[in-house]
Amino acid sequence: MTKRTLTSALLSTALLFAAAPAPAEFKPTKPIEVIVHTGPGGGGDVLARFIAQAVEKEKLAPVRMQVNNKPGGGGLTAMNYVVEKKGDAHAIAIFTGVWVTNPLTQAEAKVTVKDMTPVVRLVLEPAVIVVKADAPYKTLRDFIDAAKKTPGQLKQSGGSITSRDNVIRQLMMKNTGANWAFISFPGGGERIAALLGGHVNMMVIEPQEAGEHIRAKNMRVLAQVADKRLPAFADVPTMKEAGVDIPNVPQVRGVVAPPGIPQDAVAYYEDLFLRLSKTATWRKYLEDQQFEDGYLRSAELSQFFDQYANRMRDILKEAGAKIVR
């Protein structure tokens, strides 16, 4: 080996080190605890268990992931638990939109999502606006016009007033000047039953949930709450296309970690979930559930939290909720 090749070899090695981002030094050495705020079977729990299974199947991490359910307190029990785990790089948590919105109205909350380390945003869940199949409204415009004619008479079924359903309603009412009632039901089944029974006129629903009701001609979809049309609803206008230009308010899920974990651990998880989001298993999951890929890195997620909280604060204030922070 000549001196020259040796030098170039050394040089290229050095360059390699310089060019590639510092490889994550953090490697998990024991099972990773995945904290969720619902009991087994809740939305976050199903996602967490799917992630744990997919990571194992695709051999993405050297250790297993273990789901830990911390239900209660409208998510606060899990949030408190995450903050108490300060500095623990072997714990992550699945957050949803309520981790941002609930502390806005709950004086009991001692922590917010800003007290944790943002890791990644993973999925955005779009929504569709549906009416019963035999309803007189063929388009979103028809519904809005009918609501304007009889203010407060038409009804929408949905969850709590802090839920996305109501946020979309508030934004739509503000944009169009129409006005209709929002009736809260605790369970998704009851909301659908109220619509199919003809007791309410409209609801905001997850596309996957609505799909079969639409196919069976029990429901008609008026518009989709998404930036671009979903593959399964290619002939349904987005809100903007339907003439109601409101900001997109997706249901969001992703990962946060306890406060004060090392930067290289954050980088490790960012990379782990990036690799996960590129697997076929994950792609198929998103497709089956009709979720959108919402991958964002830690720094972007942090900004997203701020924007989301500010927007929700304004919307909830208008909805008449008592804002405490």
């Binding site: 087994p40 079977g41 409208g74 709590s160 369970g187 039953a193 029974g197 909830l316």
Partner: protein, 503 residues
Amino acid sequence: MDVASGLIQGFSVALAPGNLMWCFVGCFLGTVVGIMPGLGPAATIAMLLPLTFKMDPTSAIIMLAGIYYGAKYGGSTTSILLNVPGESASVVTCLDGYQMARKGRAGAALGIAAIASFVAGTVGVIALMLISPPLAKVALSFSSPEYFALMALGLAMVVLLAGRSLVKALMAMLVGLWIASIGTDLFTAVSRFTFGQSELLDGVDFVIVAIGVFAVGEVLGNMEQREAAQVLPVPKGLRNLLPTLEELKACRFAFLNGSVVGFLIGVLPGAGSTIASFISYGLEKAVSKHPEKFGTGVPEGVAAPEGANNSETGGALVPMLTLGIPGSSTTAILLAALILWGLKPGPLMIQDNPALFWGLVASMYVGNVMLLVLNIPLIPLFAQILRLPVELLYPLIFGISIVGVYSVSGSLFDVWMLAAFGLLGYVMRRLDYPSAPLILGLVLGDSMERALRQSLMMSQGELGILVSRPVSAIMLGLTVLILLLPLFRKANAWRVRALEENG
């Protein structure tokens, strides 16, 4: 497809050796989960879900459904033996089941619970098979005013659950209603009675109150009479461990009542098995020739609620399978499971996957037989637990109660609440307040308030909506009748006394 050919296809699926095995696994796991207080079928199914991804969806749903209805069988065991409700739907079983055990009829009570479960479970499947689609439509016509009327009817049962004093029963019920109002209000996102504790934001878990007031309260009360406390009589011999013919005869109507009430309430997405068991118990007492004996250990008092909570399973599957609407937390998870397996639950599922639907229905017949065969031989075994001396039995009950509560949420706060409700149960016993009305108020309070507010929002504040709809008007009328029952009885007593004085 007609029912006969569907069933033939179904049994050919359900009786395949693999599916038969999964059905047994499900029923067995369900029984175990039902026996253990705290951990319910919903949580078990969710935790086993990832294991089923590689299974054939039909086998998987046969197994998961087995856990669902199997848990309803097992739930009565600790209610009867230890006064610890194994799951929320078994609370009512404590009332007469535990009293039967105290009278040395533990085996009989367990046997009646198993038979009632079998009969009602089977009736539930038959009804699911024959009248699902039309019934699902009827269920959809139920709106908030009807739910309010149903809850009011349920709440009126307090008159029937009251012991000696109606006033005390009403006070206990009000405490139950108050506990139900703790937590975040769905309509306004305002928290109520949380005293700044974030643990209370989701309200108080029903299981904690039921185990505290029933089991812990009972043990505390008994400990006081330590001198007098004796080992409960457990007669020897198989004959004494199984229900007698008279006891079974007394339950004839209860089997029917439980089956029908349980199924009908199960079909409604906004009710649940706990409400079903309360209503069928109340109905049983209302038509009984000896209502005064309820609560002292009558077999009908076990058969009716146990039947209702098993038949409810068949009912709850109706909206799930025919409409894709989950009626309870367990069916919601089953629905999520179907999606994960790549099926499309919804109004067209039976058409698209007849083998799955009929296989499931047939497996439920098979499963109910399995559960009966599995449970009857266990009765003599379980009844032996009462032979334990009190110094072992009471700590055991405490242990089971604490583990049960802790396993629901994994929170120590809940264990402290268990202690508090145990003390409440003890004080209520000392002062002769019945505990069943408290549980009744707690079960119904939340849904009743919600249904009322939903109704008034729909009618823009017009109270007439509650009586202008025929179904809700009829139920409210019945409610008033039940509430007036004690007055009639009193008036009758006066009349009799007046006649005697005159004569």
